[in-house]
Amino acid sequence: MNLESLRHTALSWLQLSPIVLILGFFLVLPIIAIVTVSFWGSTEYSYFPAFIVENYQYLFSSHVTYSVYLKTFMFTFMTWSLTLAIGFTVAYFLAFHVRGLYTQIGLFLLCTVPFWTSNIIRMISWIPFLGRNGIANSSLLELGLIDQPLEWLLFSDFAVVLAFVHLFTLFMIVPIFNTMMRIDHSLMEAARDAGASGFQILTNVVIPLSKPGIMIGSIFVVTLVMGDFITVRFMSGGQSASVGRLISNEIGLLQYPAASASAVVLLATVLIMISIMLRFVDIRKEL
């Protein structure tokens, strides 16, 4: 290796070092710590360094784990499909139906307005709306559509998914809109000239070309929902569990090794899900 290329390599490493340091310190180290603690032992009041697999054994042998994962997957799938449907439609409308760049940007910014307040506030404001004596129920009662308040509107899985969709749809809109804006309109015109119907243009041109955006949005939504504990708690009124909630309960009672083991399993699950998703689209190539 000559001196020139050596210098080049060194320079590359130097340029890379800030991100390596930051990720190493704030991402890799904490994960190593969590993995380590997940093998520690614990008593009722304390925990101590050890190398035991009891935490994992319990986790994999408990039916609670499986039912909670099932529930979490259900929340994830429902939220993902709804945010995708809504996000894709909104992005499509913005990208192809709205004329004029300024109108497009203006409407796009309008989508972000609700996000000027915090997640928690947007979520909690559903509670009085959906409640037994809330606006939704009283309006329906006055319209004569129902005889008595709908109990399942609030503190139910319905409420949880509703809040998730409300909170996370923007994470779908942004990347999908972004990829759609890059689609050359002449491609669609060419397809139309070649005799394709609107539906065929959608499935053969728009969707394939928006795939990277769809995938990025999906990764956002899936990871956010898989790790969430606060939305599930508030909107189900504490009646439903998700993996995140179990971890937060364990942390609450200072059961750090057990919580770490749950966290490691959750992390692995999410990583597997993302790697499967990435198999469908090569984001690097598409971008």
Binding site: G131, R233, G237, G252, L254
Partner: protein
């Protein structure tokens, strides 16, 4: 000297510009001379002034639950003692975590006795010398011997006196007798029971068992803090006659399983509307009418009433589930900070805070001193269970009750005398948590 020299220089500079002293400048000059005089005097008196100056720079950091970490207390400390007290209010779980894992982040831990059992072994707190506590003799008996009166029976669970003392200044183990070294200085306690909406319930509520009455299907709630929720669940199961516990505060695996099986069945039958974790959640559930019967905390009841919605802290025949809190000192405290902390503790027990807490519906650890900070009518209403003679106001001055009102559950002796169990940490804590998670996931 230095001051007047500076003043002359300033006048000279001024003189160059304006040719001569204005009346304003002359006045300022006199003031500056006066200031040098004060500085000289304080150095003559020496030490005490320096100490008083130093203690002003002391800032103690206290954290605890929102129940007693009140900014009003911080303000009053500054006023009465001169130093600063920073307050951080957290939820019960975070309090335990912080006390156990972040010893450097606080000077004073305002924690509950049952948490003390989890936190003390971590070694982040130092025992307190009771000989430095002025009002030690006046502290309520519950915290020293476990008995309110000579003949009272000690309730089940982690009774405060069982974790209140250690064997010495570096003590790690709890001792049952008054050893002179306290883990926490008791400050606040109360007897908890079910809260109900009397306007939405048309029968007499007199037993914990009624929480699971099918009549209230979809309108009941309990709290989702495992260690407290399990105690409420135990009160319910025992009242239903389903389980006879050896010690509700320290259940066997079998008892835990049975308790949560009953609760899970009720949950699956749709008995509960929601589970709450924070004070505000419980207030909103009750005020919005989502729930008509639930386990609740005393000030939450007041908060519902303050909205003009009727709410009763219903005394039940099986008795109360009680809790007590106190303040502990961080192991890192020493020297001047430690002195300030002891001064704070002595001040805490001297009555002002006690009166404040009593007006919120809690009890003070030293009732005698609080009495001096309350009117006779307030004392009669809150402590003696007598009908109010005039309006009863809360610490912020908002009218809570009209003349003639009676406190739910009666006098101090009636309420604290009917404690069935204390909040606790069980030996089977880990098993309980797993079962609780199953219950939530069911």
């Amino acid at each position: 000297m230095k001051g007047s020299f500076k003043a002359d220089k300033q006048t000279n500079a001024g003189g160059l510009l304006s040719q001569g002293l204005s009346a304003h400048d002359r006045q300022r000059r006199r003031l500056l001379k006066g200031a040098t005089g004060i500085v000289a005097a304080s150095t003559v008196f020496g030490v005490p002034t320096i100490w008083a100056q130093n203690i002003k720079d002391v800032t103690l950091r206290q954290f605890g639950t929102g129940v007693s970490n009140l900014n009003d207390v911080g303000t009053k400390v500054k006023e009465d003692l001169g130093f600063s007290l920073e307050m951080t209010a957290l939820d019960s779980d975070s309090v335990a975590q912080r006390a156990a894992t972040q010893p450097k982040s606080f000077d004073i831990a305002d924690i509950e006795y049952w948490i003390c059992k989890k936190v003390w072994p971590a070694g982040n707190l130092q025992p307190m010398d009771t000989s430095k506590i002025d009002n030690y003799d006046k502290i309520a008996g519950i915290f020293k011997s476990g008995k309110l009166t000579e003949e009272s029976v000690i309730a089940q669970g982690t009774a405060p006196h069982t974790v209140g003392f250690v064997d010495g200044p570096d003590g790690k183990d709890f001792v049952a007798e008054e050893s002179g070294w306290m883990t926490l200085i008791p400050t606040i306690y109360n007897a908890d029971t079910l809260g109900i909406r009397p306007d939405l319930i048309d029968e007499e509520v007199s037993s914990w068992a009624q929480l699971l009455d099918p009549k209230y299907k979809g309108k009941a709630s309990i709290l989702d803090i495992a260690s407290i929720g399990i105690m409420d669940a135990a009160m319910v199961c025992e009242a239903m006659g389903e389980i006879a516990y050896g010690d509700k505060g320290n259940m066997t695996r079998d008892e835990i399983d049975k308790t949560l099986a009953i609760m899970t069945e009720a949950k699956n039958n749709g008995q509960f509307r929601a589970f709450w974790k924070s004070f505000d959640e419980s207030v909103n559930l009750m005020a919005s009418g989502e729930v008509v019967i639930q386990s609740m905390w005393s000030p939450a009841i007041s908060a519902v009433r303050a909205k003009g919605i009727p709410c009763v802290y219903q005394p039940l025949k099986e008795g109360y589930r009680s809790w007590g809190g106190g303040i502990g000192l961080s192991k890192n405290l020493s020297g001047l900070e430690l002195d300030a902390a002891y001064e704070y503790i002595n001040w805490y027990l001297s009555g002002w805070v006690g009166g404040y807490l009593m007006r919120q519906g809690y009890y003070s650890a030293v009732p005698e001193t609080s009495k001096e900070f309350m009117s006779a009518d307030e004392w009669g209403y809150w402590f003696e269970g007598k009908p109010a003679e005039g309006e009863i106001v809360n610490p912020q001055g908002v009218v809570m009750e009209q003349a003639g009102a009676l406190r739910d559950g009666g006098s101090f002796e009636q309420r604290m005398g009917s404690v069935a169990c204390w909040n606790s940490v069980m030996d089977e804590n880990q098993h309980m948590l797993r079962k609780w998670n199953e219950f939530i996931a069911a």
